[in-house]
């Protein structure tokens, strides 16, 4: 198995809680710049201690992840990260210009020497408000965008695109991706619709903001659909995202997580209930709406999160057992690991180092 280190650029200063979008009254430019430097140093450390990938992702109008354009951040990482590959997980495709996304990822593939994987995401519900895009059209925009990007990466002659949501009269992107035919594409297969789409286009699968129980069903459905289309996803086709925190002992890991305030964290975009309800009413979640809403709701206590496959926590030995359980349940070949404790300096760094030195070598053998 492989591991990717996902360090979000969390704003380290004060900001209003429980709202989205988050007002910027208290924004301090120096703190923000320091937050970026902290993230970069964590990523350098992850690269040094052997993480296979480092991850970037897109979020808007909030301090928990100051990465409205993850591809800009990835551009910086191409010059910072020496060994690790870069997991673009990823641009929120339906709210973006897909040809621009194709161009930027091709640039990154060149700047990184062919070291990117391309996660194309739909984003969380609130992101649709960001650029004033109807969330009810998210899935159709997404699916068309993915097909367009694949064509833009692989078609050597100029072509036009007469879509339902995108019209281009002539496309011929430069540079071309280094990897042939194109960087590996991952999409979230949380919903039945996305599992079917990924299977039809032979795309790799990602799971995030979910539970092991929900994801195992979705993974089984994705595999079933892929088999129907005549192919079998391999472990390297499946990424599973969760948080991690490693300490010398289980007790210390738990104490540090409790003192970091993790128990009070809420789900991804549920801070604005009216907004979430309106998005749900648009058809955004698809036909499995209750499961999809449930998986994005507030997280439980630490022990419950571990049980649900949302958190790896404990000693290296304990964490390895938790990883093995996830591998056996989901069939994932890669874990995308966000920091359980993101901004506690030496404690955070020790967790990264310990994962690299005491977990990763054994994880690679799984």
């Amino acid at each position: 198995m492989k591991a990717s280190l996902f360090c979000t650029t969390r704003y380290e200063g004060q900001s209003k809680k429980g709202v989205w979008p988050v007002p910027a009254d208290s924004y301090d430019a120096e703190i923000a710049q320091k937050s970026y430097q902290r993230t970069l140093s964590q990523i350098r450390l992850g690269d040094d201690v052997g993480f296979d990938y480092v991850t970037v992702a897109e979020h808007h109008f909030a301090p928990f992840s100051m990465s409205p354009n993850p591809l800009i951040f990835a551009g910086a990482l191409t010059q910072v990260v020496k060994k690790a590959k870069i997991a673009l997980l990823g641009p929120d495709l339906p709210i973006l210009n897909p040809i621009r996304v194709a161009e930027e990822i091709a640039m990154l593939d060149n700047l990184s020497g062919g070291r990117v994987i391309a996660g194309l995401m739909r984003g969380s519900p609130n992101e649709y408000v960001t650029y004033n895009i109807n969330p009810g059209e998210s899935r159709e925009r997404f699916q068309e965008g993915v097909e367009l990007i694949k064509k833009a990466w692989t078609e050597p002659q100029p072509f036009g695109w007469q879509g339902r949501y995108y019209d281009y009269r002539t496309v011929s992107i430069w540079p071309r991706p280094v990897q042939k035919p194109h960087p590996q594409i991952f999409i979230s297969v949380a919903t039945p619709e996305s599992g079917e789409f990924a299977a039809r286009l032979r795309l790799s699968a990602g799971f995030a903001f979910t539970t092991l129980q929900i994801a195992s069903k979705a993974a089984a459905y994705y595999r079933e659909q892929a088999n129907a289309y005549g192919w079998t996803p391999q472990p390297e086709d499946v990424i599973y995202r969760l948080s991690f925190h490693v300490a010398p002992t289980d007790e210390q890991a738990m104490e540090e997580l409790v003192s970091s305030g993790m128990q009070t964290s809420v789900g991804l975009s549920m801070t604005n209930k009216a907004l979430e309800s309106a998005v749900a009413g648009s058809g955004y979640y698809g036909r499995d709406i209750e499961t999809q809403r449930a998986r994005l709701q507030s997280r439980g206590q630490i022990e419950e999160r571990i049980h649900n496959g949302q958190l790896l926590a404990g000693s290296p030995e304990t964490v390895l057992k938790q990883i093995t359980r996830i591998r056996d349940t989901i069939g994932a070949g890669m874990l995308d690991l966000s920091l359980g404790i993101a901004t506690m300096g030496a404690i955070t760094n020790r967790s990264i180092e310990m994962f690299g030195t005491d977990v990763l070598p054994r994880m690679h053998e799984l």
Binding site: E155, P156, F159, G160, G163, R164, R169
Partner: protein
């Protein structure tokens, strides 16, 4: 030398715009002809599914004189030995258009009708001002299914016809055989060499869900024809204009109006003037 004469009869209106049915005599056969609208002539050559008109044709007929000719061997139009190839049919289509007094036109062909249109443009270079190829089957890199096990007529969605003659549908085995023959080999060296001499702007459309010819074929037209613009019509099968009539109307309408500068967007994006 081809000889031709024209006789007109007006059939009951099927829908707006009025469709005028006629017969054109050329090369010794009576060719069924449908006409609608007025303006610059736009000649349409149907594909393997036979003579039919879609919502795209209805829209294009709002500012063109649409002339749809039935290919010999289909529907009510007889065929001679010379009509065993797309090039042979092209000669008769040229004679028919001459008989109708059409000396210059925009030329649109679907599927194997696009192959006929290609030969028309090659052998009669002053006839067409522009060429629109809809799911052309003249080049099939994978030879992916004409007459094979896959569905012959592929629409990804429920189609709406402006007019269709059910008797010429390709469920008819003899039509399938004819279509297969007229499509020619997957790669026709003579045609591809001749395509380099097409000087007019060409627009070629390919459906992303087409089971007959893949979008990969598009690049061969780009490479072979000097002024060729290819467009992928998303979520469309082989009958592109039936699946995505608005999408086809938009790009074809722009191309007919502006020629090779159709790639310039002239629509306002202003939201709140």
């Amino acid at each position: 030398m081809s000889t031709a004469s024209v006789s007109h009869t007006t059939a009951p209106t099927v829908t707006t715009p009025a469709i005028k049915f006629s017969t054109v005599k050329a090369d010794g056969i009576d060719i069924r002809c449908l006409e609608a609208g007025s303006g610059k002539p736009l000649v349409y050559l149907h594909g393997s599914s036979g003579l039919r008109l879609s919502a795209t044709h209805r829209a294009l007929a709002s500012n063109h004189r649409l002339i749809a000719l039935e290919l010999p061997g289909f529907g009510k139009t007889a065929a001679k030995t010379a009509h065993g190839t797309a090039r042979g049919i092209a000669a008769t289509m040229a004679a028919a258009l001459h008989a109708m007094g059409v000396e210059g036109c925009d030329l649109m062909g679907h599927s194997l009708g696009a192959n006929v249109a290609l030969w028309l443009a090659i052998d009669h270079p002053t006839l067409a001002r522009s060429l629109i190829l809809v799911a052309p089957t003249a080049i099939r890199p994978e030879d992916s299914g004409i007459g094979g096990a896959r569905p012959f007529v592929v629409t990804a969605h429920k189609p709406e016809h402006l007019w269709i003659d059910e008797s010429s549908a390709t469920s008819n085995p003899s039509m399938r055989e004819l279509s297969q023959k007229l499509s020619g080999p997957p790669r026709d060296a003579e045609l591809e060499k001749a395509m380099a001499g097409i000087a007019i702007p060409v627009l070629a459309l390919f459906g992303t869900r087409c089971m007959v010819v893949s979008t990969d074929a598009a690049r061969e037209y780009n490479r072979g024809i000097p002024k060729c613009f290819t467009t992928m019509v998303y979520d469309a099968g082989h009958e592109i204009d039936l699946d995505r009539p608005d999408a086809v109307t938009s790009v074809v309408g722009n191309f007919l109006e502006h020629g090779e500068t159709f790639i310039v967007n002239r629509d306002s994006a202003m939201i709140n003037p």
